[in-house]
C-alpha cells in the first residue's frame, strides 16, 4: 500500500480500479467515437496503454491530457452520457482541456469526475493497471494493490 498526496481540483471519496497511461491522455481521440456509439472503450489508436480498454467508471492515472482544445467539451459530453472515468489522477499539473471538461460536467450537468493533480512522477511510476485505489476528498490517494477474491492486496 502506498499513499500519495495531490492537489484537489474536484474532490470526492471513492474507491475504484485503475487504468494507467504513461503518455498524454488524448480526450478527443479517446471519446469521440464513443459519443456516437455510447461505448466507453478508449478509441485512441495512438495510445497503446489504453487503446481498446474500458475507461468508463475507472480511475484513470495519467501525466495530463493532450490534443485538441475541443477536448474539454468532449469530456463534458462523455460525462453526460456516462462513458467518462469516475476519477482522473494526474502526475503533473492539470491542463486546460481536462480542467474545463471536469468543471463544465460538474457545474452544468451535475456529473462529477473526481480530479487530483500534481501527484508526481513517482505516483505514475508506482501505480499499475488493474489496482484498487482509494481517493479521499482531501487529495489523499492510496494505492491499495490488486484485488484478489474481494480483498485488496
Amino acid at each position: 500500500m502506498k499513499t500519495f498526496t495531490g492537489r484537489v481540483v474536484l474532490g470526492g471519496n471513492l474507491t475504484g480500479e485503475t487504468v494507467v497511461t504513461r503518455q498524454g491522455f488524448n480526450t478527443l481521440a479517446t471519446f469521440f467515437r464513443g459519443l456516437t456509439t455510447g461505448s466507453s472503450i478508449c478509441n485512441d489508436q495512438n495510445n497503446p496503454d489504453l487503446y481498446k480498454k474500458e475507461i468508463g467508471e475507472k480511475i484513470v492515472c495519467l501525466p495530463k491530457t493532450i490534443g485538441s482544445t475541443t477536448g474539454g467539451m468532449i469530456l463534458q459530453c462523455a460525462a453526460d452520457v456516462g462513458i467518462a472515468p469516475a476519477a482522473m489522477l494526474y502526475a503533473d499539473h492539470i491542463d486546460s482541456i481536462s480542467a474545463a471538461g471536469i468543471i463544465l460536467a460538474e457545474v452544468w450537468n451535475g456529473k462529477k469526475i473526481v480530479a487530483i493533480d500534481q501527484l508526481g512522477d513517482e505516483f505514475l511510476e508506482a501505480v499499475q493497471e488493474g489496482q484498487q485505489i482509494e481517493i479521499k476528498d482531501d487529495g489523499t490517494v492510496i494505492v491499495l494493490g490488486f484485488e484478489v477474491e474481494g480483498q485488496a492486496q
Partner: protein
C-alpha cells in the same frame, strides 16, 4: 456561496450568489473554478475580439446543446459578436460519395440546430466560420496587448506570438462563457512572467525550412513551453509582411498541434522579441539547435497510417489552418506553372484549398485567377480538413496534405509543399 480563493468584485460575488440568475451563476462559477485550477487571482476584462472553437453540431453533444439552450433561455449572449471555427462538411465543393454523405449527415445531424444556437448567442454572421478569423477579410483581428479568451490552438498561438495579444490556450466552451461574461481568469500568457521563454531555439538550416516541419520539430521538443527562436530573421528577413505572417501562421499551427505551444518569440521579428530581445529568456533556459539533419530526422519519424503505402491519393488538402488570400494566390500560381511545365491541363489528384468564406469570396472577385484555378481542376472549400477526416468513410481513403496539423489529427500523409505540387500534377512518386 462556495469558498472561492479568487479575489472577486462585489458584482462577481452577487453573480455567484445567483442575483443575475442561475445561468449566469453557472457561467461565472465555471470560469472561476477554471481559473482557480491555474492559480488565477482575479478576472480581467476581455478587450479584444471573441472567437469560439466548437463549430460542429455532432451526435452525442446533448450536454453542450442543452447548455446553449439554458444560456439562450436566460437571454445571455457574448459581449461582442464572435467568429467560430470552420463548418464540418462541404458537399458543394468536395466530391462526396453517397456513403460518406450519409455518415456526415448522421454524424453532424444537429448542425443546423447548433448554428441557430450560435446565432442567438452572438455569432458575427453566416460566413463567420474559420480557424483563421484573424485574417483581415474575416475581420476578427486582435490588436497588440488586447486580452482575449480563445481556444482554437492555431489562432491562440498566432494572436499571442505574431500580433502580441494575450490569450491563454483555453478549452472550448470556456472561451464562449468568458465571451458572455466579458472577463477571463488572469494567469499564464496573460501575465508578463507567463510570456517568458524557457527554450532558446537556434535555427541553423542551410535554407529557409518548411514552416510546418520546423514548427513540428519545435513543438515536439518544447511541448508546451515558450521558445525564443533565432536564425529565422537571417533566412526570412525581419519585416512582418504577409509572407512572413503566412510562414508564422503555419509554423505556429504545427508547434501547437505537434506540441502544445501557445506562444513563441522570433528574434527581431515578433513584437515582444523586437522590444525585449533575449531578456525574454528565463534564467537557466534550455537550448535546441535545428539544422538540416535534425529536420530530416523529424520528417523521417512520421508514421504513415495508410493501409496501402503505395496507394494513389484520393484527395489532397491544402489549408489547415485556413489559407490566407496571399497563400491561395501562391498555390494557384505554383499549380498553374507546374502544370504548364509538365504539359498538363489539370491536376491528377483532386485538390482542395481550404480558406475562410470571406477569403474565398475575395479571391473569387478576381475572375481571371479564379478561372485559372477552376480550369486547373482545383477546388476551394470553407470546411475544416480535420473534421472532414472525422468521417470514417473519408479517413479510410489515402489523403495527402501539406499540413502537419492535419497529419497529427488524422490519417492524412504529410508531404512538403514542393512534393505536394509534384504529386498533384504528376501523380504519386513514392
Amino acid at each position: 456561496m462556495n469558498n472561492y480563493k479568487m479575489q472577486l468584485t462585489q458584482e462577481e460575488k452577487d453573480i455567484l450568489d445567483g442575483k443575475q440568475g442561475e445561468a449566469m451563476q453557472k457561467v461565472l462559477k465555471s470560469i472561476v473554478l477554471f481559473g482557480e485550477a491555474f492559480g488565477a487571482k482575479r478576472l480581467v476584462p476581455i478587450d479584444g475580439p471573441i472567437h469560439v472553437v466548437t463549430s460542429f453540431g455532432m451526435t452525442g453533444f446533448d450536454a453542450v446543446f442543452n447548455m446553449m439552450d439554458e444560456l439562450i433561455g436566460a437571454g445571455l449572449k457574448t459581449k461582442e459578436p464572435f467568429t467560430v471555427d470552420p463548418r464540418p462538411v462541404d458537399f458543394e465543393n468536395i466530391e462526396t460519395t453517397e456513403a460518406s454523405k450519409k455518415v456526415s449527415l448522421d454524424l453532424y445531424q444537429h448542425q443546423e440546430q447548433y448554428e441557430e444556437q450560435l446565432q442567438k448567442l452572438g455569432l458575427k454572421d453566416k460566413d463567420a466560420f474559420s480557424c483563421a478569423a484573424y485574417m483581415k477579410e474575416v475581420g476578427n483581428v486582435p490588436e497588440r496587448g488586447q486580452v482575449l479568451s480563445w481556444a482554437e490552438s492555431s489562432a491562440v498561438v498566432f494572436a499571442n506570438s505574431v500580433i502580441g495579444a494575450k490569450s491563454n490556450r483555453n478549452s472550448g466552451i470556456i472561451e464562449l462563457l468568458c465571451g458572455i461574461l466579458g472577463k477571463t481568469p488572469e494567469f499564464g500568457f496573460l501575465t508578463e512572467e507567463g510570456r517568458k521563454a524557457k527554450w532558446l531555439v537556434e535555427v541553423k538550416t542551410s535554407k529557409t525550412p518548411n514552416p510546418m516541419l520546423l514548427g513540428s520539430a519545435i513543438g515536439m521538443k518544447v511541448v508546451e513551453d515558450t521558445p525564443y527562436i533565432t536564425g529565422l530573421d537571417k533566412l526570412l528577413g525581419n519585416e512582418l509582411n504577409n509572407t512572413m505572417k503566412d510562414f508564422l501562421k503555419d509554423m505556429g499551427a504545427a508547434t501547437a498541434s505537434n506540441g502544445a505551444v501557445g506562444l513563441y518569440h522570433i528574434e527581431n521579428v515578433t513584437p515582444e522579441a523586437v522590444d525585449q530581445g533575449r531578456d525574454l529568456l528565463v534564467e537557466g533556459y534550455q537550448t535546441y539547435v535545428i539544422d538540416d539533419e535534425e529536420l530530416n530526422k523529424v520528417m523521417a519519424s512520421y508514421p504513415v497510417l495508410w493501409d496501402d503505402m503505395s496507394a494513389e491519393p484520393a484527395f489532397c488538402f491544402i489549408g489547415c489552418p485556413h489559407l490566407s488570400l496571399n497563400q491561395i494566390y501562391t498555390w494557384n500560381d505554383n499549380i498553374d506553372l507546374t502544370l504548364k511545365k509538365a504539359g498538363k491541363e489539370k491536376v491528377s489528384i483532386r485538390t482542395i484549398l481550404s480558406a475562410a468564406p470571406d477569403v474565398i469570396s475575395k479571391f473569387k472577385e478576381d475572375e481571371k485567377a479564379y478561372e485559372t484555378l477552376i480550369n486547373n481542376g482545383v477546388s476551394l472549400s470553407f470546411t475544416c480538413p480535420v473534421m472532414y477526416m472525422n468521417n470514417p468513410e473519408n479517413s479510410k481513403n489515402p489523403i495527402i496534405t501539406n499540413s502537419n496539423k492535419m497529419r497529427t489529427y488524422s490519417t492524412a500523409r504529410f508531404f512538403l509543399d514542393q512534393e505536394v505540387l509534384n504529386i498533384i500534377v504528376n501523380g504519386k512518386n513514392y
